[in-house]
């Protein structure tokens, strides 16, 4: 079977890269654009309320000549002069197709009427499409308009703040960084991945993560499925929500060439606040550091010289994106061929991300009953500098030290203290790279889907979807001898190659029929199989003979026994077999019921098969006769309610098997890593394997039961529309790694289904046309507001908290457990401070309790810490305001996140070493205490700032209110029409300018000295030291590339 899948795949790949085929397609394009004598027909297509309809397909019957209407519903079509009767076909999904004989006319205006059968908008749901008015679950669509109006680098940016219930958190600030997407909170403690939503691209699960593989320009629409009644059809993978992505495909009509391009410059939005020479000197003289000034520093003091390391390092970055697509087709055959190039650099040298994409789609109608099609999506991306981070040196280097010597050469060791001089090299060395280092991730992905559809007998349809996916990634790292990264050390390199591939085969039977006009029945049945595989090979080696070899041949190195290479690898394969049935029934468009049942068999479990039921119902109140009286005010009203059960993929492949390993964890003061189990018999060294985990045969999925109640409404002829959803998701069987007693004979923990978790929340979405002036001026708004309350309910008997794992019963998973900072001990509090063994200028921590249950005059970790906050927002939301006047469009996107605590690692003295005020180095400029500056912000520069028994209380200096309101982007565009278009022979032209990340309206954290109110990641990534207080789900700010603001100029052209 494996061979067969590969064969199919091989053929598809051959197809996708075969140059002959591309040539043929291009030939078609050119042929069809050649024309003889022409007539021009223009006109406007309007809908039932006389609004212009964009995107209506117009086709000259029995030809490939066609077009689509522009944003205002206008069209212009060149048709050949002919004596034959010419008929134009106007079609749009959800509307009745109109045919109009041209008969020599040059202007034809058409009014399209909604198709009663498929009244209203069609939305994509799991394994099919559905009328929006029939939907009984909770889902939200990100409109193609919203996707189009702001140029984005990736899918996660496109989703950020766009949909209620969807939270997108970036992970890292370098170009090409990933993101953490959460729908309605988290429900698993076992791993971050276990909380990731399932992404479905053109019906096929998009495995292997990495949203950067998707070119956002190729996305037509995105649907986010949220509640169990919407996601239960994905059964064991539905609990974290589903993101359905539909890509653009060819439409019938004229061959179109469209070009979407933009170019932008990014600049540092806000520099880190640092000390200038004078301020640093003041801090250093106050501090206990008595290392003395370097001769260069004394010179600076005398001459008033000050070095701004940030200014010297930062440069302007750029972001650019070009997409060329050729598409078109006839009623029977549509195609599209597109290529894209994207590149983003940043303000630091050596960090960039670029992506090349090539995509071909084809849809073919064969006869009356058969339709087939494919989509091949190929991405090649390169990410540089993802793991280089010179920010610590940039921020902490002495502003008293010069960067260049008298001859203008970079001073190699510019540290302002003797200890660092030997091993701190100037970050300016990064600006040139003379075989100094390589930090590159090259990635190739080929994601292919094919389908075939057969109308067996009306209304029964069979469809097969086949997905073939191949992923390859090489992560190559090299650090040259005595380079910035290896001061006074030899070179080192490592290469990690990862390959992944998989297939999906889905067989579907779809039945759709309206019986006796009032009973609409839809049945979808599915049988699907999916298998996915990844493996990697890693090699690390130092002492390479020459730096220019880099990582390319690690054999060219010293290979003595003390310089052996480190080798490792891993392999994962999993499979899923599913059966699903969904029944939709609607009576008279008023009452709707959806029943879903799915059975999933997973390779990951010993007890493989589990069932997932869901039920939901809808009531179209607006269809009731009693609503007729107020129909001029209320134009839509629908109640929905649903219940269902789903799971998330918290069981990793092979987790139930139990295992033996040849690696043993070794921890001491210097090393924390796995070592191979070895033993020697005399000189003869042999490897050993031992039992590391007991088989977890009873391990099953975590099950989430969600109840959802929703209300869809529309007022004033749908000028105001919206949705409110309330949900309660109870997850049970949470997998927790129990520490077994040593006498069970296994060294590790044992994963078992034991815990419970809760997520409750409310989501509100609103769309409103605020102004619709006769002059053509319109102002409309999209608003979403939502909140989620996550709570860990139970883990095991007697379990209250596991501080190291960040688990606290009754609190969210992002809870922070720590001391509470009251301020700084002031001079007049000296006596009180002495009780705690402290002096004025040191951290004042709340004495919560003591061994006797009351405050004891001693701050210690056992009695004086509590849950002091969490990363959970009180509420969050986004507003997009759009203004249109004639050809102009203007919009801006506002995003607000209210409440919660952000952990600023950069402000935690011993996490980032930027505010430890030890004088030895400079750092972030903070308001520190001195006898003459009685602040409560930061303690006085001192060797000890904490109470004697609370050595980690420095962490309290990093907690800030995470609230912020931010303008994400401002966009201004102009769409050309009429004469201009025909002059340049274009079908549509839009030029626009965008400012991304223009400004922050409100942020207490920035007011206190932060550079960006949005976290740079989660957990302790990028921290030097963890005070033991940060759960891996907390929002954290690490020392990273500063926030940037981009100014973008772009054009959308269609010929």
């Amino acid at each position: 079977m494996k061979q067969k899948a590969l064969l199919i795949y091989y053929v598809a790949l051959r197809k996708s890269v075969c140059p002959a085929r591309i040539r043929l397609l291009l030939l078609c394009v050119f042929l069809s654009s050649m024309a003889s004598a022409q007539n021009v027909v223009t006109g406007k297509v309007t809908d039932e309320s006389n609004n212009g309809m964009p995107g209506v397909s117009i086709l000259l019957r029995n030809t490939t000549t066609g077009t689509t209407t522009d944003a205002e519903g206008n069209y212009s079509l060149n048709i050949p002069s002919s004596t034959d009767q010419q008929v134009l076909v106007y079609s749009f999904i959800g509307y009745l197709t109109e045919e109009e004989t041209v008969g020599g006319r040059t202007v034809i205006n058409i009014n399209l009427l909604p198709n009663i059968e498929t009244l209203g908008e069609i939305v994509v749901v799991g394994y099919g499409t559905q009328k929006k008015s029939d939907i009984t679950g909770s889902l939200v669509s990100v409109s193609s308009e919203a996707l189009r109006e702001v140029p984005v680098a990736n899918l996660q940016q496109a989703l950020q703040g766009r949909a209620a219930g969807l939270e997108v958190q970036r992970v890292g600030t370098t170009p090409g960084s990933g993101a953490r997407i959460r729908i309605r909170g988290e429900r698993s403690v076992s791993s971050a991945e276990a909380n990731d939503p399932l992404i479905i691209l053109d019906g096929i699960p998009f495995e292997g993560g990495n949203l950067n593989d998707i070119n956002p320009d190729e996305i037509k629409s995105i649907e986010v499925l949220k509640d169990a009644s919407a996601t239960a059809i994905y059964g064991s993978r539905g609990a974290n929500g589903i993101i359905l992505i539909t890509t653009k495909r060819g439409t019938p009509g004229e061959n179109r060439i469209s070009l979407n391009s933009y170019y932008g410059i990014s600049t540092v939005a806000r520099k880190y606040p640092v000390y200038n020479a004078e301020e640093y000197r003041a801090m250093r003289d106050t501090s206990p550091w008595n290392g003395g000034y370097m001769p260069e520093e004394i010179e600076s003091i005398n001459t008033g010289r000050s070095t701004d390391w940030q200014d010297l390092m930062y440069k302007d970055g750029y972001i650019t994106d070009h997409n060329l697509t050729v598409s078109g087709g006839t009623e029977k055959s549509q195609y599209s061929v597109g290529g894209g190039y994207f590149k983003e650099t940043t303000v630091l040298p050596g960090q960039d991300f670029s992506r090349l994409t090539l995509r071909i789609t084809n849809d073919l109608q064969i006869g009356e009953r058969i339709k087939i099609g494919f989509n091949t999506m190929n991405t090649y991306s390169t990410r540089n500098g993802a793991s280089i981070n010179p920010m610590f040196n940039i921020i902490s280097l002495s502003p008293l030290m010069p960067a260049y010597d008298a001859a203008g050469e970079i001073i190699k060791t510019p540290a302002g203290n003797l200890d660092d001089q030997a091993n701190t090299y100037s970050p300016l060395l990064l600006k040139s790279n003379n075989n100094d280092w390589v930090d590159r991730v090259r990635r190739l992905r080929s994601f292919n889907s094919l389908y075939g559809e057969v109308k067996i007998i009306d209304p029964l349809k069979y469809r097969i979807n086949i997905g073939l996916d191949y992923r390859q990634e090489e992560n190559a790292q090299f650090r040259g001898s005595d380079s910035y990264f290896r001061p006074l050390q030899g070179n080192t390199a490592n290469v990690n190659n990862t390959v992944g591939y998989g297939y999906t085969i889905e067989n579907m039977l779809v039945f759709d029929k309206t019986i006796a006009e009032k009973h609409r029945v839809g049945v979808t049945g599915l049988f699907s199989v999916q298998k996915d595989h990844t493996h990697n090979t890693y090699v690390s080696k130092d002492s390479i003979d020459q730096d220019f070899v880099q990582f390319y041949n690690l054999g060219q190195s010293n290979q003595s026994t003390t310089n052996l290479a480190t080798l490792s690898g891993s392999e994962t394969t999993w499979g899923l077999i599913s059966y699903m049935v969904r029944v939709n029934y609607a009576y008279n468009d008023k009452y709707m019921v959806t029943l879903t049942g799915r059975i999933d068999g997973s390779s990951r479990l010993t007890d493989k098969w589990h069932q997932y039921p869901a039920i939901s119902a809808g009531w179209n109140v607006i269809k009731e006769s009693f609503m007729e009286n107020i129909s001029n005010v209320v134009s839509n009203l629908k109640l929905r309610a649903g219940w269902g059960e789903t799971s998330n993929q918290a069981v990793a492949p092979y987790a139930t098997l139990g295992g033996v390993t040849n690696l043993i964890y070794n921890s001491d003061w210097n090393t924390n890593r796995n070592l191979p189990v070895l033993y020697n018999f005399g000189e003869n060294v042999e490897g050993g394997y031992y039992v590391s985990t007991i088989p977890s045969k009873k391990l099953v999925w975590e099950f989430t039961r969600t109840t959802n109640i929703g209300l869809d409404f529309g007022f004033l002829n749908d000028r105001i529309t919206g949705t409110i959803d309330w949900y309660n998701a109870q997850t049970h069987n949470i997998i927790y790694n129990l520490q077994l007693p040593p006498t069970s004979g296994v060294s590790g923990t044992y994963a078992t289904n034991i815990g419970r978790m809760e997520n409750r929340g409310v989501e509100i979405s609103l769309t409103s046309v605020n102004v619709e002036a006769p002059s053509g001026f319109t102002w409309s708004s999209d608003i979403n507001v939502f909140w989620n309350r996550n709570k860990l309910l139970y883990l095991q008997d007697g379990f209250q908290r596991n501080i190291a794992s960040g688990l606290h019963i009754g609190h969210p998973l992002s809870a922070i457990y720590d001391y509470e900072k009251l301020g700084i001990w002031q001079i007049d509090e000296a006596d009180e401070a002495a009780v705690y063994g402290q002096v004025p200028g040191q951290l004042k921590i709340r004495d919560i309790s003591g061994p006797e249950g009351v405050p004891d005059g001693n701050i210690d970790p056992d009695n004086d810490r509590k849950v002091i906050g969490s990363g959970q927002a009180k509420w969050q939301g986004g507003i997009t305001n759009r203004f249109k006047y004639k050809g102009f469009d203007f919009s801006f996107v506002t995003y607000a996140r209210i409440g919660g605590t952000i952990v600023s690692g950069v402000h935690q003295p011993t996490a980032a070493y930027l505010t430890n005020l030890d004088g030895k180095r400079s750092g972030l400029k903070v308001d520190y205490w001195t006898p003459t500056n009685p602040t409560n912000d930061f303690p006085m520069p001192s060797t000890r700032i904490t109470p004697p028994n609370a050595g980690n209380a420095w962490t309290t200096l990093g907690y800030y209110d995470a609230t912020f309101v931010k303008i994400r982007s401002i966009n201004l565009g102009y769409t050309f029409s009429g004469n201009v278009l025909s002059k340049i022979g274009a079908h549509a032209v839009r030029v626009y300018t965008t400012v991304q990340n223009p400004f922050v309206l409100f942020s207490p954290y920035m007011k206190a000295g932060g550079v960006d109110p949005e976290a740079t990641g989660t957990g302790t990534t990028g921290f030097v030291q963890n005070g033991g207080n940060i759960p891996n789900r907390a929002l954290t700010v690490a020392t990273s590339t500063p926030p940037t603001r981009s100014y973008i100029l772009g054009v959308n052209l269609t010929f």
Binding site: V529, E571, P653, N662, D668, L675, G682, I694, P695, P742
Partner: protein, 612 residues
């Protein structure tokens, strides 16, 4: 038209056929079966290589028990031999303030069960493995010896411990359990001893006669030795059976009488037994191995900082603070405030200063330091001036000058601990050209909890390890588990317990004669010295045996168990002035709190040893 339609129908059925195939093909259940490549399951043990690798890991696990800090702490502290050095880390064990959360007791508790389970796996899985029966029996015998030794170490510290880990007694546990199968304790202890005896009987019949010349794979000799020891210990325990001492005697005697068959023998010179570079000598039957300078083979991440895990720190734990600055009260003004060693040196290692000899060991056990060579060959009294710095460096010259300032040169005696105070006084009295420039410390000034003026004391030198990359590093030497000399002691003790005191004296006098030997001495001199230390049958009793064990084996990781197993701990710990808190219940260690916390039974107390 009809032809066209026909074609049409044909193509439809063709497509249908394809679809049907696609529908059926993945139906094969292979998709739902896991066949991991890199994630090994216990299936791996069902091959010869796999089974053998499990045995290797079981050997490697023994390293936790021989050499690391915790393993040394629980066998040395609180005994008549050893008290605290001046760095009183983990002194709770020494002063008998032992708590259920004590880290050192976790060394056997947290490490040994999963190795026992690994041995269980070998024993359970071996019958299904296709390999030569002979080779398989050797692997089985090795696994069963190791399982018995893991149990022996646990039982010696904690009393009865579970044989059932969740899947039945002595069965490979595949059931995650939070049960603790320790009750009833009395019954379990009987089973514990029987299991050890069964395993070791099997091992003593199936292991090869001899170990390889320069490697410590287990042999019949090692198995017979441990078998005799287990019988002996059971003879003292609540699980004792009538002929335990007799059995102990016969198995020990079998080994002694068939030395040549088993390829073992006593060395002529006691000094050679523990000498670095002579680790594979024929007197040692089984050592837990390490390789000099090979961190990977020794499973050490960082040899300078690894105080847990499997690092052999025996070379550092007994060292006194030879770097200490000489007190201002010292009689020789040239030395006051100065350190004789400005850097640590390979020979003397890292001064971890954990164990200092008790006065009893120095004065009583080794009362005769002349005729019995074992004192001089076990404890360091002299430190020669040396440096880690390389010749030609500025630091080297600085040290040479530093020595010259005290009237010393490299290689000179730097610190001299005298055997009597009289010697110290007479040396200090020398003046003029005869004046001694080195640091002289007599026994009354050796470090003790009540006298910390000088942080120096006689330090065990059996574990000296010069073949290391750095003076702070852990040792790359094997750590001896069983030596033929101890077999003689076990045999003698068993003989005594069965009333054969003559035989006991004969056996012990073999060791006494060897102790009298020093290279260069004439045969008459040796005989004369032997006459002064040899023992009469009338003097043989348990205390004498224990004293003799100290003289022969002191510092070798045996003492606490030796005393506790023989019911002599309370009485003999009184010779350790710091062990004042000791109570009767201290003959067993507490069941660790982490174990009790991890079990589901809320009534934890019933599993705990009494007194804790």
């Amino acid at each position: 038209m009809t032809i066209k339609k026909h074609l049409h129908m044909k193509s439809i059925s063709k497509i249908f056929l394809i679809c049907l195939t696609a529908l059926l093909v993945p139906g094969c259940n292979d998709v739902l079966e896991e066949h991991p490549y890199t994630a090994f399951t216990t299936q791996y043990f069902e091959s010869e290589e796999g089974l053998s690798s499990a045995v290797v890991a079981a050997y490697a696990g023994m390293r936790y028990n021989y050499g690391p800090v915790g393993a040394l702490d629980i066998t040395a502290f609180g005994t008549d031999e050893w008290s605290n050095g001046d760095q009183a880390l983990n002194q709770d064990l020494n002063i008998y303030n032992v708590t259920t959360t004590d880290g050192s007791i976790l060394t056997p508790w947290n490490r040994n069960y999963w190795h026992i389970n690994l041995c269980n796996a070998v024993v359970d899985i071996a019958p299904d493995v296709e390999m030569a029966e002979g080779d398989k029996n050797v692997l089985l015998a090795e696994a069963r010896y190791l399982r018995a030794n893991y149990y022996f170490l646990l039982v010696s510290q904690f009393g009865a411990v579970p044989l059932d880990l969740g899947s039945g007694e002595l069965k490979f546990n595949t059931e995650p359990t939070t049960e603790f199968y320790r009750l009833p304790v009395e019954e379990l202890l009987v089973k514990n001893y029987q299991a050890m005896i069964d395993d070791l009987t099997f091992a003593s019949e199936n292991l090869p006669d001899q170990r390889p010349v320069a490697a410590f794979r287990l042999s019949k000799a090692a198995a017979l030795h441990l078998l005799a020891k287990v019988y002996l210990h059971r003879g003292y325990s609540a699980a004792k059976e009538g002929n335990d001492f007799q059995n102990a005697y016969s198995f020990a005697k079998k080994l002694i009488d068939n030395k040549e068959t088993y390829g073992v023998g006593l060395l002529n010179d006691y000094a050679d037994i523990n000498k670095e570079g002579n680790d594979y000598n024929k007197e040692i039957m089984y050592s837990v191995e390490r390789l000099p300078l090979n961190n990977a083979a020794n499973e050490i991440g960082s040899p300078g900082t690894d105080f847990a895990n499997k690092a052999n720190q025996s070379n550092n734990m007994y060292n006194c603070n030879y770097q200490q600055a000489v007190p201002a009260t010292y009689y020789n003004a040239d030395l006051r405030g100065k350190s004789l060693f400005t850097s640590r040196v390979l020979q003397y290692g890292r001064p971890l200063r954990r164990f200092a000899p008790t006065q009893w060991l120095f004065n009583t056990a080794f009362a005769d330091k002349l005729n019995d060579s074992r004192f001089d060959n076990s404890l360091r009294m002299v430190w020669l001036a040396d440096t880690w710095e390389e010749e030609g460096t500025a630091a080297y010259d600085t040290y040479v000058n530093h020595l010259a300032g005290m009237g010393l040169a490299l290689g000179d005696t730097a610190i001299y601990l005298t055997k009597t105070d009289a010697i110290a006084e007479s040396l200090k009295a020398l003046t003029g050209t005869k004046k001694k420039h080195y640091l002289i410390v007599g026994p009354k000034d050796f470090y003790s909890a009540s006298n910390a003026t000088f942080q120096v004391y006689p330090s065990i030198k059996k574990f000296d390890a010069v073949k290391r990359a750095n003076f702070n590093d852990a040792s790359g030497r094997p750590f001896a588990v069983s030596k033929l000399s101890e077999t003689y002691l076990l045999a003698a003790e068993a003989a005594m317990q069965t009333g054969q005191t003559d035989e006991a004296a004969t056996l012990i006098n073999v060791l006494k004669l060897r102790a009298a030997y020093r290279p260069g001495l004439s045969a008459e001199e040796i005989t004369s010295r032997y006459d002064k230390i040899k023992v009469d049958a009338s003097a043989i009793n348990l205390d004498f045996i224990l004293d003799e064990r100290s003289r022969e084996l002191c510092g070798e990781g045996l003492r606490w168990i030796d005393l506790a197993a023989r019911g002599k701990l309370i009485e003999r710990a009184a010779r350790n002035p710091q062990a004042v808190n000791i109570k009767a219940f201290h003959v067993l260690r507490p069941i660790p709190q982490s174990q009790l916390d991890a079990i589901s039974d809320p009534d934890k107390a019933k599993y705990q040893n009494s007194g804790y």
